[in-house]
Point group: C2
Chain length 186, copies 2
């Protein structure tokens, strides 16, 4: 990588605290010595869990959550996902989000990879896991502003529709891409 | 989709204007009638262009831009990408970003799909295109805060590494997933 592309930090100022991220204005010095200001979201890491199970016909399915999303003002179909709490490992966050949103406990959790959801203005990572040996052990345990329906949907359908219709969350495309590469390797 | 999951808009207040997005606080009424506040980024749409060409060995390559990213404070390897200007079509934005960042003009542009980069708190879409019949017609034409190196990298290498090392931008995983589905269909 070329060091000629690197900007130098000058200072940063917090503009807002917004529960799921803090907004900062940062000043940086360009590779040719010009000062510029940028806006950055400082956010905790995220996790996405792909829960893999078999339906009553023997078809391989993913567990999918249906929920209202406040950015797009629309209902989406997604893998269970959430925020890694402070001091929590991504693995524990994945297991916790899975059981809270679906009631399922995973006997086997595979780490598929981590990536920046958007390095242009975010400083966090999103971690993707696959969950196997699923057992329904609890009821959903949702925050009082969470309303989620659960569906068991054939993998084939999700592979075909991801990125279209209600499968409209790009972070789920990242997760499925990690899963597909891992599956090819096993 | 279940209408029981839908929240109702009450009001919204702009907190900050941040050049590449505006930060809003919105109030909404939950499906069971509780009022909650959420933070949302109102952003223009984005485009990503996958430029496909052949190198001097006859291997299929993508054009890749190497640049410093201010969110992650790191250098990344990505497809050319940018913001759709007001009144501009995503197609024109894709052609414009391609020529500005790389100097290449595309003879053939394929629309691969659009998805929300993050419906949890963003209201925009990111559009992905593949560009073929590329011809080097100009020098890079960068903003004075853009510093970009260009590379021709074999598709096989990018397929293997996307989401790892310097291929650390999740939006590029979305783009490559659209491209791979389209390639399977041709």
């Amino acid at each position: 990588m070329s060091k000629k592309l690197i900007w130098k930090d000058l200072d940063r100022k917090k503009l807002n605290s917004c529960r799921i991220f803090d907004l900062y204005e940062v000043s940086r010095l360009s590779p040719v010595g010009r000062e510029r200001r940028f806006f950055i979201l400082d956010a905790p890491d995220w996790v996405t869990v792909i829960p893999v199970l078999t339906d009553e016909h023997g078809d391989e399915c993913f567990l999918i959550v249906e929920q209202f999303r406040h950015g797009s003002s629309s209902i989406t179909l997604e893998f269970p996902a959430g925020i890694v709490d402070e001091g929590e490992s991504p693995e524990n966050a994945a297991l916790r989000e899975l059981i809270e949103e679906t009631g399922y406990m995973a006997g086997n959790l595979i780490n598929l990879g981590s990536v920046s959801p958007n390095p242009a203005f975010m400083d966090n990572l999103t971690h993707t896991f696959a969950a196997f040996n699923l057992e329904l052990v609890a009821k959903q345990n949702l925050d009082d502003d969470e309303f989620i329906h659960i569906h068991k949907i054939p993998v084939k359908e999700i592979q075909k529709k991801m990125g279209t219709e209600h499968y409209s969350n790009g972070v789920m495309m990242m997760a499925l891409a990690f899963y597909n590469r891992w599956r090819k390797g096993i």
